[in-house]
């Protein structure tokens, strides 16, 4: 349980993003407007991560467990050493699933377009 009052951190981020969209984007041009757009994208990404974060963390950990790896570093090292070659299809399927999870937060349009 957190001790903070409303709004939640997600709602705070959302409020700043809405202000950027409503006032800053329309009141700027050129480079400043481009950087405002980048900021909007960054905040929207944070909102998606706050929404999906806990579920994605659990799913990712379950995938690592299935391969008997404590973390990404161990998985990367065991792929490099060839230790997991016999389970190559399974490894690729699980790693790709986590990549899709990352994209669904970072850039869902990219995922939809490919």
């Amino acid at each position: 349980m957190i001790p903070h009052d409303m709004p939640t951190s997600r709602e705070l981020v959302e409020s700043v993003r809405e202000w950027l969209e409503r006032d800053v984007l329309t009141g700027t041009t050129g480079r400043l407007q481009f950087h405002a757009r980048v900021a909007i994208n960054v905040l929207a990404m944070v909102e998606r991560e706050l929404d999906a974060g806990a579920v994605q963390a659990a799913t990712h950990q379950a995938r690592l467990d299935q391969l008997g790896c404590a973390d990404e570093a161990e998985l990367a090292a065991r792929i490099r050493s060839g230790e997991l070659d016999e389970r190559a299809d399974e490894v690729r399927e699980l790693v790709w699933a986590s990549v899709r999870d990352k994209l669904s937060v970072a850039n869902p349009k990219y995922l939809a377009g490919s």
Partner: protein
């Protein structure tokens, strides 16, 4: 009131540049960009617009090699800016390695080249022009520009990844595929190293000049063709070659202009390596922010683009593992 530092620098530079290019007057000295390793200035010498690129003082890289590659490319008929003067070392007339080139007018921003009506005709010509330019580059004898080195790209980027300390399982899968499918190629050529939209000047009439030669090296010429097809360099366009053409258009133009016969599988191998490289470069760009070298939310956000490249690697390798 004291002048801002850039103005003072410009004033000082004008005097030095007049000597370097042998001009009676140098005016309109403007800094276009100041990157991490070099700065670019535009100026007018006796009415002629020129570009200066100057290495940061103390930067080890030798711009003299780059100048000789650029001269050789021009001599081979490739569309490039003409080198007017160059110098190397911190004791050069400009206090650092430098090159002065002719200013070529036109557009470098990829999204404008790919979308603006002004470049509609250019887009139809670019696949063939880019292929022909690469064929011209790769026909230059490799000893024309002494000082160029061959670098094993897999070894180099593995070392970069290990130094970064952010292991990525997808990249390890890709490295293994690349090692197991490496083309056996005895071919060696001068490779541009960063040949794509963003690094070329385009006018309504098509390709005008190939820029940014600082990554030139010796290697398999297919590296340049593969890099040109990496998805990031399509800037959202569905067409695989620089966002303007199809593979066969590029390969046909390359071969017609005297380039070696292209094996599409070999070109694809280099495209996969290029996708991996751009993924690692995203981590590097994010690191420029994280390390405090250049604090920027834009650079920070690039760190979250790594997974786009991971996804592209899976798409490219599906059915090829």
């Amino acid at each position: 009131m004291s002048a801002p530092p850039v103005d003072r620098l410009a004033g000082q530079l004008a005097g030095q540049l007049a000597g370097v290019v042998g001009a009676a007057s140098v005016t309109d000295v403007v800094r276009l960009s100041g990157g991490a390793s070099r700065e670019t200035w535009r100026f007018v010498a006796d009415g002629r617009p020129l570009i200066l690129q100057r290495q940061r003082s103390g930067d080890g890289r030798d711009m003299g090699v780059e100048a000789s590659v650029l001269r050789a490319a021009g001599a081979a008929g490739m569309p490039v800016a003409q080198v007017i003067a160059s110098g190397t070392g911190d004791d050069s007339p400009l206090g650092a390695s430098f090159m002065v080139m002719t200013a070529v007018e036109g557009e470098t921003i990829a999204r404008k080249i790919l979308r603006d009506d002004e470049y509609a005709e250019a887009r139809t010509m670019l696949p063939a022009q880019l292929g022909a330019a690469l064929a011209q580059l790769h026909a230059i004898p490799v000893d024309t520009a002494p000082g160029l080195v061959e670098q094993d790209q897999i070894e180099y980027y593995r070392t970069v990844m290990d130094t970064l300390g952010q292991p990525h399982p997808t990249f390890e899968l890709a490295f293994r595929w690349l090692e197991q499918h490496r083309p056996v190629s005895p071919r060696q050529a001068i490779v541009h190293g960063d040949f794509r939209l963003g690094n070329v000047i385009v006018g309504p009439d098509g390709l005008r000049a190939v820029l940014d030669w600082e990554l030139a090296h010796l290697g398999d010429p297919m590296e340049d063709l593969g890099w040109l097809c990496v998805k990031a360099w399509r800037f959202g366009s569905p067409k695989p070659v620089a966002g303007v053409g199809d593979y066969q258009q590029l390969f046909d133009a390359y071969e017609a202009a005297g380039g070696a016969t292209v094996d599409p599988d070999e070109a694809r191998w280099w495209e996969v390596l290029g996708t991996l490289k751009w993924g690692i470069m995203c981590i590097l760009q994010c690191n420029a922010h994280m390390s405090g070298f250049s604090r920027s939310h834009e650079l920070a956000a690039i760190g979250r683009r790594v997974c786009e490249n991971e996804h592209d690697l899976f798409l490219a390798l599906e059915g090829r593992w």
